[in-house]
Symmetry: C2
Subunit: 173 residues, 2 copies
């Protein structure tokens, strides 16, 4: 009772949403082969965890694609750029048709769906699953990496829109 | 033996570093009170995991600050913008003096160090620790949130430099 905490003026959930809406993030598309075939989703939470052995983490929330990816043994994490923004929108919209004949993809010999226009495709084995709320935090060991030599400007998700990068501020502050 | 995998031309660790160097990320500073006092580090891996209850994840690697943060019960995750780039550099450099009199910070009634110029400060309880290689993947439940009304342009880490955002590409592709 000696240090009453000031009550936030808005519920913490609303503030949390606002804080992360404004937090910029790179964009990835994660794919796997589920029991009903290829699934995929757009993720803005992919981050490097460790280099030796190469390990990354991300989270998925709700839905059929999310549950199939969380349950998969292996996945492909595609790091994408501004040239792939339409692909990103497709995988962000659960109602959009995916893995159509018009989409440039293939099934790898190891069984996972590969989106061939991604700048980087990291085939991974999921090594850790931690359910949290309606989401699952996943960590994955990188098994092999394909890179696409075509350059693309960096793509950043911020305030529910896609952006590319402006000038460096590294020298001005 | 029927599907020999093509060997990558570079070791997977080098490709992994290159892929994440080029993957844009928002910037945070994470602080805690360790056994020897206030500690902090710059993190580019903070991401939202779940909204209900509000949960985030990030990873820390090596060093005294990282181990004290990974061991802390509660932490403060500061989401920062371009105006805080010098603060970010300070917490990215293990040799730079932190928590000096010249720095605008305070100890919260709950014990954690608060960097007052951060746009968002999320006080969290660590609820999950998963050691991986030389790193620890952490998940934390958000307890309360302070926001700083002063606006700052978004800050993005990319190719080892800090950037702010250019135009939206959401309408052009």
């Amino acid at each position: 009772m000696t240090h009453p905490k000031p009550l936030p003026s808005e519920p913490v959930g609303e503030l949390f949403r606002a804080a992360f809406r404004a937090h910029p993030a790179g964009v990835s598309i994660v794919t796997a082969t589920g029991p009903e075939g290829a699934v995929g989703l757009t993720a803005s939470s992919v981050a490097s965890v460790a280099v030796d052995p190469p390990t990354l983490a991300f989270s998925v929330t709700g839905g059929r694609s999310a549950s199939h990816i969380a349950a998969a043994q292996t996945i492909v994490v595609h790091l994408v750029g501004a040239d792939q923004v339409e692909l990103v929108r497709t995988f962000a919209d659960p109602a959009a048709p995916r893995f159509t004949d018009a989409m440039d993809w293939e099934v790898l010999p190891t069984g996972e769906p590969l989106l061939k226009e991604a700048i980087w495709a990291l085939r991974c084995e999921i090594i850790h699953r931690a359910p949290m709320g309606g989401s699952v935090l996943l960590a994955a060991r990188v098994l092999d990496i394909r890179s696409n030599p075509s350059a693309s400007a960096p793509l950043v998700y911020h305030n529910r829109e896609f952006h590319t990068l402006f000038q460096s501020v590294s020298a001005v502050a």
